[in-house]
Assembly symmetry: C2
Homo-oligomer: 431 residues x 2
């Protein structure tokens, strides 16, 4: 090996076929659950006017942006998240749709962070949002979807919990304790770190608000402080048979300034106690982004691909389900056509064409090769069947590669024969 | 409406649900055809080291790049195309796979061009490549896949042709006419424009190579100048029953410097005579990108989403096929659950949960609403069925929204009943 070769940029992933199959497993599961819930897919651009993110975060610009000036002198940014774009799109088009909008997107986002295990400079995110419904039923629908997504990956009760809080409860608390409205965001930032902050530092910070640690921790610990919306969500999830996954946790505030009410996180309850997904209600964002032109209450959550993938791979039963899927998907074809008589190359090409057009994933050796080599290639491709085109043509042999059984058929009834055979199990050895 | 609101950047598209459905139609068709041909999916990063593109194009940097310096001082570029990344990835990982690699990617690319109908600053591209097979059988396989992709969209003979040329034929021509090797790329650039250049200018340019227009046009017109590889491809496509789509056209050279042999374009033969897809053999690129570390012959093609979408929408039979697909996909659910008795809200939620978990796309009104309103919403969602939960619970009514017929069933056998019903046609009114 000579000379330097190019690599992917730090924090950016190449998805070679095996990795891409895992990515597709996440995407297909996300998409399938969202569709079952009656959500429709949308997608916004990867590159946006930087002003969109400045506006959303109220001027406090993240240091993590891939931000640059394009050839037309525009200040543009690779999206760090999707919600700002969604708010823009919803403000423009909401009149075209009956309410509520139930929309989802699977898209890539970009943040200039230090790459480490479980975090890159790009990641894929599953974004699910309900716009146009202000009541807790929308939050309950979203939380149910988040839970069913985890169940679809094979997680079971005990593997994860959904911790739910309500910023409204904290705002009531703050008002009752005389914290002025303009200091409430700062106060929420302190609450957000209450579990991680050193005791002395926490006490000191709360003192600035005229509070003690025990007052705040006491508030968190008392289930009576659950908001009316939380209780409505609990009743809703109880009706759905999902209440066992729900937990009140008032220590959850979530950092972003735009949340306005219910906030929640899916928490890994067994492994590393990471948040797998998070979200909440953001009733004022569409109005902010549209300069007050459109007022649309909204609630949503996002799940990134890094943490969920690690958790799936670290958990035995979910890892097995992924493995079964990968085995199926790693097969590059269902039928490998083996040419046992070189004079039948043209007939083989016609058969390959017919099978493919009938929807059967079919492969063959592009160049003449020994029969043994072709069978080796068939095994490598993880095909279920090898179809042998030999001197007996139009008689063909179909070999089940798993069971080494075989049967004979006729090229003149090829499609009927093969498609029927593909729908059947493989016989005694696989039964 | 007050104040300015944000828009997508010029040349960047928002895919609201209807647009996203069309995008998914293209993606799913591409993916399905590629899988039928035994290709596996990969994906490379959207952002790459700019050097990768400088290297590929031999230093001649495009003026169309979204190129910037990231926070770490790296010179990075939003990919204008995928092949350079594929060459990098293949050089790194080719030893892990049996040859040939049959790989495809569906990904977004970025070019700073003047936005116009049929061209934006971002576009999606279907990239299909075979690496590790130098013979014309690989080109024939690719061209077959390109043709079958068009057929899958509903195009028929007469709608399009695949025009195939071979740079090798031109290199033989150039050598026979004493054009020095280092001037061959310039000569190919003149040939590339032979159909578009003004006659005087063309004559002048060819004079610089000691040639006349009639010599060059004569070479193009004579089918005897087809290369051996072209003839092998023709025989291969003939065996597959696809030869009617093939046309020798030596005027095709394709601009990019890295093509080394067979080049081809799918041409709209009826509408605006645009190229819908194009590609060819690039046997030296992997070696160039890897500084000679890996030598892997390769051939590939790309189809962008703009031109094919326009052509589908402008052609009656392909537009109808898309329309049928959109009708099906615009349905946000299959079953809309109508709550006719408010005391049954909890039972309805349980039914919704069970149906969704059984894989049935199901929706309902998150908040109590009049029955008429709920049916209106069911119609809007384009559901096939409304399932009415009323005072007769656990007796339920299933209404076929298309035919206005109905039947009664029992909640205790919900899933069996509904899934069986979903597999049946809708009865006399739709028969």
């Amino acid at each position: 090996m000579a000379g330097p070769t190019f690599q992917a940029l730090p924090g950016f992933r190449d998805f070679s076929p095996g990795e891409c199959a895992v990515r597709n497993y996440l995407f297909e599961t996300w998409r399938s659950v969202a569709r079952r819930f009656g959500f429709v897919e949308y997608e916004t651009p990867i590159l946006e006017d930087t002003g969109l993110y400045l506006k959303k975060s109220g001027g406090e610009l993240s240091s993590q942006l891939f931000r640059f000036e394009d050839q037309g002198g525009r200040d543009v940014t690779l999206r760090p998240e999707v919600t700002a774009s969604l708010a823009r799109l919803a403000a423009q088009h909401q009149r075209d749709f009956p309410k509520p909008l139930k929309w989802f997107e699977i898209g890539q986002c970009f943040r200039y962070e230090k790459p480490q295990k479980g975090r890159g400079r790009e990641f894929h995110q599953f974004n699910v949002d309900i716009l146009g419904e202000a009541g807790p039923a929308a939050d309950a629908e979203l939380i149910s979807l988040a839970i069913e997504t985890m169940l679809a990956f094979g997680f079971v009760a005990g593997d994860f919990v959904v911790r739910v809080s309500d910023r409204a409860a904290w705002i009531t608390f703050a008002e009752a304790h005389g914290i002025p409205e303009d200091r409430i965001p700062d106060f929420l930032n302190v609450v957000d770190k209450v579990e991680r902050e050193k005791p002395d530092a926490l006490e000191e910070k709360l003192k600035g608000f005229g509070l003690t640690t025990s007052q705040v921790k006491g508030f968190i610990a008392d289930p009576a402080n659950a908001s009316a919306n939380f209780n409505a969500i609990r009743a809703d999830l109880d009706a759905r048979g999902l209440v066992e996954f729900l937990e009140l946790d008032l220590s959850i505030v979530r950092g972003l300034a735009y949340y306005t009410g219910i906030v929640f996180e899916i928490f890994d309850a067994k492994k590393s106690m990471r948040a797998v997904a998070g979200g909440g209600r953001y009733d004022t964002l569409v109005s902010t982004i549209s300069d007050g032109a459109v007022d649309l209450p909204a609630t949503g959550f996002a799940m990134g691909d890094y943490v969920i993938r690690n958790l799936i791979e670290e958990t035995t039963h979910t890892a097995m389900q992924l493995e079964v899927w990968k085995q199926r998907r790693n097969a590059s074809c269902e039928i490998y056509v083996v040419v046992a008589d070189e004079t039948r190359q043209n007939d083989a090409r016609r058969i390959v064409t017919d099978l493919r057009r009938a929807g059967v994933a079919t492969d063959f050796s592009l160049v003449p090769a020994k029969v043994g080599k072709q069978f080796q290639r068939a095994e490598q491709s993880m095909a279920r069947f090898a179809l042998v085109v030999g001197s007996e043509y139009p008689q063909l042999k179909l070999k089940v590669l798993g069971s080494r059984t075989e049967e004979t058929g006729d090229a003149t009834h090829l499609i009927d024969w093969i498609t029927q055979r593909l729908q059947e199990p493989d016989g005694p050895l696989l039964a």
